[in-house]
Homo-oligomer: 452 residues x 2
């Protein structure tokens, strides 16, 4: 970064090391052994791929693994495609198994197999096992480096055992207690072990209300929701025999929540769920174009509605002036309902009853807002055109379209979910198709009935 400094900055004395200097803005110093892996990752991402390779090769292998683990997924993959198998395998061995699995999942099969063959037998078995889980499931997101203790140990025995083991474990704030068959029986926090009297048995420290867990096939979004709900630092993942497989940790949950929020917002308008401003242009084109084509076909439908009334418009061109107002207003009302519903579905599981209560709520809001908007528009159209019946027709069309827009905006995500799709996917595109077509049809249709 130093080479980009403007001359007047070069002349300033070097800043004193300050407690907060690294926060907020990228650190002005070069990457060294005190650099946080997350910052090193940002540094690597800004290099060209050849320099990336050169840079990670000169790092100590553990630091290289930690930094690569923090990189953006697209960047990780392009880097791995340019590393030789031997070095790449060493990196994978050093990484937390869940991070290594994420990278392997992004590579094509041949590359993945070739790489796995170079990984040491113990780590290879672990990675092969993790690769069998769906990437969007608890199993696919879990970390297997957990502290598992026999519930019949005393606190002292447990602490001694942890001292020996904890060095390798990434998740050191809970210990998981199992019975002789490996079934999870309780969770104890490090904090509780530290405070307990030494002679106490681990199982005496367990609080029943702390035992929340998921099975490996649970959707990762649901895991994130539960961790948020119960304020946990890690969620145990079990097989169907209640045996402990691993944990999903809260730092992964933050990433999951951010990814899901991006997915919802972007899928709603037909952009790719995992697009960022760093995605390759052609990747974004490929993701978006199909939805834009769907949108063209949708607007062809509303255009066809207008086409049916061409004669009417030729006689009364002011209808073409009013058309966009109806469509726009109903569309906006619907989008407000849509946004609130999609966010709610992202944060909470809704049963049918609550879902339809929420639709009803949106329709109430739409009707009240619609009342004010209609009054405003009625006055404006009457004032500007001096045409009483035209103002009435416009207002009636607007009222109908706004109410239906509120209903559609709230209902579309529920319908999409009901048919097993992502509640957000292209929802805004469907909504616009509905409010446009209906708006044009009611305005022009009422005009034909009343004004001619």
């Amino acid at each position: 970064m130093t080479e980009n400094k403007a001359p007047y900055e070069m002349q300033q004395p070097p800043e004193e090391e300050s407690l907060t200097h690294a926060v907020g803005t990228p650190s002005p110093v070069e990457v060294d052994e005190e650099t946080h892996p997350a910052d090193a990752a940002e540094h690597i991402e800004r290099l060209g791929v050849e320099e990336q390779v050169k840079f990670v090769k000169q790092l100590p292998i553990k630091d290289a693994a930690d930094s690569i683990a923090e990189m953006d997924r697209h960047e990780q993959q392009s880097l791995f495609q340019n590393l030789n198998y031997g070095f790449a395998a060493k990196i994978l061995e050093q990484m937390a198994p869940d991070d290594a699995t994420d990278i392997l999942e992004g590579l094509d099969e041949e590359h993945r197999k070739g790489l796995l063959r170079r990984v040491k037998a113990k780590e290879r078995a672990e990675l092969r096992n993790l690769l069998t889980f769906h990437p969007d499931s608890a199993g696919g997101a879990m970390n297997t480096e957990v502290v598992i203790l026999d519930q019949s140990l005393t606190v002292d025995q447990a602490i001694t055992k942890m001292r020996d083991e904890v060095e390798d474990k990434e998740i050191p704030y809970y210990a998981y207690l199992v019975d002789s068959a490996g079934r999870l029986t309780g969770v104890v926090s490090l904090r509780d072990m530290l405070v307990a009297r030494h002679g106490k048995l681990l199982r005496e420290l367990v609080k029943a209300q702390n035992l929340v867990s998921v099975t490996y096939d649970t959707d990762r979004e649901e895991v994130a929701r539960l961790i948020g709900h119960y304020n946990l630092l890690a969620m145990p993942v079990l097989d169907f025999g209640d045996r402990m497989l691993g944990v999903v940790t809260v730092d992964d949950v933050i990433d999951i929540i951010q990814e899901e929020a991006s997915e919802d917002m972007q899928a709603m308008v037909g952009a790719g769920a995992d697009e960022t401003t760093d995605s390759p242009v052609l990747y974004s084109v490929k993701k978006r174009l199909p939805w834009l084509i769907l949108n063209v076909m949708n607007s062809a439908v509303s255009a066809f509605v207008v086409h049916l009334f061409q004669g009417t418009i030729a006689q009364m061109a002011v209808l073409a002036v009013l058309m966009p107002i109806v469509a726009n207003q109903a569309g906006n009302t619907g989008q407000q309902a849509l946004a609130v519903m999609i966010r709610q579905l992202a944060m909470e599981r809704f049963d049918r009853k609550r879902s339809w209560l929420a639709v009803l709520r949106e329709m109430r809001i739409g009707m009240i807002n619609g009342f004010f908007i209609c009054a405003l528009v009625w006055g404006a159209v009457l004032g500007l055109t001096q045409h009483f019946m035209l103002a009435n027709v416009m207002t009636a069309a607007l009222a109908i379209d706004i109410c239906f827009g509120a209903f559609a905006g709230a209902a579309i995500p529920l319908v999409l979910r009901e048919i097993g799709r992502d509640p957000a996917q292209a929802s805004s595109i469907f909504l616009t198709a509905i409010t446009d077509s209906l708006g044009f049809f009611t305005l022009l249709g009422l005009a034909v009935l009343v004004l001619f």
Copy 2:
């Protein structure tokens, strides 16, 4: 909940207590001492306000405080408005100070003052202090119950001290080391203390790269971003003299990220930032109506553009058929750019150079997608109308509007940020105003120039 069971469910044998029974679906059992506070909160939220009061009063005071802390903000406030001062004050004393502050912030001033007067002196001073911070800042989100240790202690001394203190502390996975002036000098995890040899000094355990902190005035969204970036469980909050004030914990960060994601998505279309499907109808009306009125005024502008060309439309009504296609297509392209930009700004701080590179990227995507869409539309219009020049005019207008839509979608959040507004606020409404007006103007204007 049991009373809602359908008859056929009543006849089934009671389910065996299973490890995973509480996960995903609300627990079928009544609320008792083993119920997690988060589940108790959900139970309370479903009661009417009178039953809520009755219910929390019969709980042990600590359980009541824990459960109320997990409730939705709107629900907390309506409950507090119905509790007598004496009981409410006891609840506040038992709560984590950051949660108590959140509740107090929602009450009107008189109520807040009356309540605070009933709170014990020590807790009152603490709460008054926390209330001075802006609710959207690190200070407003921080928890003050942290373990602060003198850096010159040995590990044994520290563990003994923590044993005495940790009972009251909510955040037990890090200890914060300070020098004699109270300035933060390092962070040590419980894990590292547990593994260290007993004679070691605390300051020897500190790793330089772990010292990340913020000042109390940092925006809470930035704190959330940094905690995610550095995978921390808690972020120390300092005053401008580097003295330790408290920490923002990762469970609060999850809430912050979810709230910010809702804010972005909802603000984009002019719904209230903090609306949920549980918000009162009139609250939502109040939040949304101003933006709908702005939207009406915006559509009045595009309607005015169409109005200028009424004569043209009367002569050639097919233009009114094509109008919505142009506007819609450019609008959708722009919304895709908008969604990706807003999410990126939510997750990362962008300097100007990266911002404009991202705009450029969106314009490239818009142009490539626009090329395909234009080819499709050109063929369709030519095929359906047999009017070569009309197809050309339509395609030219579409191309111009799509490119400008992509630019506007990417640029609007940046402009809003530049003028100090929320990058998402009403961005979709502004975008539609632009793509509609420009689309109508280019289509009808080009038609006048070329077709008549």
